[in-house]
């Protein structure tokens, strides 16, 4: 091996200029709940999101797909400003929720997070009873009489199909549930405070297939009341449950379209390669 071997390397793929703006028609979605314009994101000095533009449709499920490390989590963590807990993490651009830029300093993050709930990859039941888990956000944001509190907890647990399983041991610790139940508990906890948007970051990647199926059903049922954004690595899942799909690659939104169209007739070569499993 010597220096001349370098010439044998394949040429670097050309960086598409067009990828700065995703190849989607402007205002692809019917009614946008969230509008992302020119979003760039930095971990310290390192930029990981580049000029993201996206619209999240109201009462629809939007899936975010893309290879590992492409910035999916980073992107949705902007929507509830959870990133701003950390020193050095910075978002530049506009994220409009109902027309208001949530990146503005004036935004009340507590209220923002009530309106935009989040579900994480690992179920995160709080170290308290099942009831208190679901009641946590309610007690946080509202002052409710006991009966109403109980009613709302029951309603949330019913919405996630957990009520019949846990109604007899509401006082048991949330951590005693199975992984899938825990994740549904977390969803119930998020639903209880009556959010508008629900963000899910690979909510099923840590649970078994049967529990996953239940959560998928649940996600579909949620869209009548909520706007859902779900990050997933599982393309079948995206195809099954989402209405719109955004494909991310190296911090850019390569393609965004109705799910059916994106999976059957992608316009970008990279999208096609990804969904057909040629990389990722």
């Amino acid at each position: 091996m010597n220096g001349t071997a370098a010439t044998a390397l394949p040429p670097r793929p050309p960086v598409s200029r067009r990828s700065e703006s995703p190849s989607s028609r402007r205002s692809a979605v019917r009614r946008a709940r969230i509008v992302v314009r020119g979003l760039n994101f930095f971990y310290g000095r390192r930029q990981v999101l580049f000029d993201n533009n996206l619209e999240i449709a109201e009462n629809r499920v939007t899936a975010i797909i893309g290879p590992s490390g492409c910035g999916k989590s980073t992107h949705i963590r902007v929507y509830n400003r959870i990133y701003s807990l950390y020193r050095g993490q910075r978002a530049v651009g506009e994220v409009l929720l109902d027309g208001v830029n949530i990146l503005s300093d004036k935004v009340d993050t507590a209220e923002l997070r009530r309106r935009v709930g989040m579900i994480f990859q690992q179920p995160t039941p709080f170290p308290m009873s099942i009831f208190d888990n679901v009641a946590y956000g309610l007690r946080l944001h509202y002052r409710l009489p006991k009966s109403e509190l109980e009613g709302r907890v029951e309603e949330a647990l019913k919405a996630v199909g957990l009520w019949d399983e846990v109604r007899r041991h509401l006082a048991a610790p949330g951590t005693d549930l199975s992984g899938g139940q825990q994740q549904r508990l977390c969803i119930a906890r998020a639903l209880a405070v009556d959010p508008e948007v629900i963000l899910m970051d690979e909510p099923t990647s840590a649970i078994d297939p049967i529990a996953t199926a239940r959560i998928e059903e649940l996600v579909v049922s949620l869209k009548s009341r909520y706007t859902v954004v779900i990050v997933t690595h599982n393309m079948q899942q995206a195809a099954r449950i989402s209405d719109y799909t955004a494909f991310f690659h190296q911090g850019r939104i390569v393609e965004f379209d109705e799910t059916a169209r994106l999976f059957t007739a992608p316009r970008e070569k990279r999208t096609e390669d990804y969904i057909t499993g040629r990389f990722g």
């Binding site: 971990y43 989590s73 980073t74 963590r77 400003r81 990133y83 701003s84 807990l85 950390y86 020193r87 050095g88 993490q89 910075r90 990146l103 300093d105 993050t109 507590a110």
Partner: protein, 312 residues
């Protein structure tokens, strides 16, 4: 805009943050206050004796003349004896727990070692004075005196108490601390490293000596310094058996004093300001010594890398 933990937030957040920062500052304040406080009370002695305090061997409350040398000497000798025993013992014990013993034995023995660390100093003092000292005077010291009479360390009357006994008790007290740090180091050695060495046909002891101990040399040295710092400042166990004498003698059988034992013994009698000030200065000397040793220990033990959190 970012980093809401440190900036924005409700009144409750601000209060919590302020209280936490204040508590953190308290730690630093205390550390400084220790030096200032002891320095303040040492002022009289400092101005009277200057730095000569450190190497004057005279300790004469009646004449009002004080020097730290005898106490420093006793501290150094007893600690040296303790380290001489504890260094090999702790390495061997850690070797046993991490490499030799099957879990069924390593677990209870490791547990016993932990319990050992919890036994208060004064209990060691009681045991040293009433149990170990008689054995030392009747059996160990006469034997050592016979067997190694040519050494100046083992001469003089076998009284049981003295620097040798104090050093042995100290070694028992620091053994568990050193062992557990070294044992952690053993367990943190990458498995692949050990396996590579075993793969080359090395024996257990060779792997330990040439791979594990070398890989963790800093941590082991850190453990030794931790033990050293502890031994220097240990009070009650020593006070019971060291004999409390300000004479400086070569023989380990002779009674002596450490800085800590001088403080514990004489504080109650010290009535005049100069005496108290001299004791405070002794304390200051001990503080500086242990601080230096612990500084070295930390240097060697410190590891880096606390997570910054985030999307991944």
């Amino acid at each position: 805009m970012t980093d809401e933990r440190r900036r924005t937030g409700t009144a409750g957040d601000k209060l919590l943050r302020a209280a936490a920062a204040a508590a953190a500052a308290l730690v630093l304040f205390l550390m400084a206050a220790l030096f200032v406080g002891l320095g303040w009370h040492s002022a009289l002695s400092l101005s009277k004796f200057g730095v000569g305090f450190l190497w004057s061997s005279e300790w004469n409350p009646v004449a009002g003349r004080y020097g730290a040398l005898s106490s420093i000497y006793g501290t150094l000798v007893t600690t040296a004896v303790a380290m001489l025993v504890a260094i090999p013992a702790s390495v061997l014990l850690a070797f046993f727990l991490a490499e030799i013993a099957p879990p069924a034995i390593a677990k209870p023995v490791g547990y016993a070692v932990e319990l050992f660390a919890a036994v208060p100093s004064i209990i060691f003092g009681m045991w040293g004075l009433f149990v170990l000292a008689p054995i030392m005077s009747e059996h160990v010291q006469p034997f050592l005196g016979e067997a190694a009479s040519f050494l100046p360390f083992f001469s003089g009357p076998p009284m049981g108490i003295g620097m040798l006994t104090a050093g042995l008790i100290l070694s028992l007290m620091i053994l568990p601390y050193m062992t557990s740090v070294i044992r952690d180091m053993f367990e943190m050695t990458p498995r692949s490293l050990k396996e590579a060495a075993y793969g080359m046909g090395a024996t257990r002891w060779e792997v330990t000596r040439k791979v594990v101990l070398r890989h963790g040399a800093k941590a082991v040295a850190g453990a030794f310094f931790l033990g050293l710092g502890r031994a220097m400042g240990e009070t009650m166990a020593v006070t019971f058996v060291v004999g409390n004498s300000h004479r400086i003698s070569a023989s380990l059988f002779e009674p002596a004093n450490t800085i800590a034992s001088t403080l514990a013994n004489e504080f109650a009698e010290a009535s005049d300001p100069l005496y108290l000030s001299a004791l405070a200065e002794l304390g200051l000397v001990l503080l500086v010594m242990t601080f230096g040793i612990n500084l070295l220990a930390r240097r060697m033990l410190d590891r880096f890398g606390a997570g910054s959190g985030g999307a991944r």
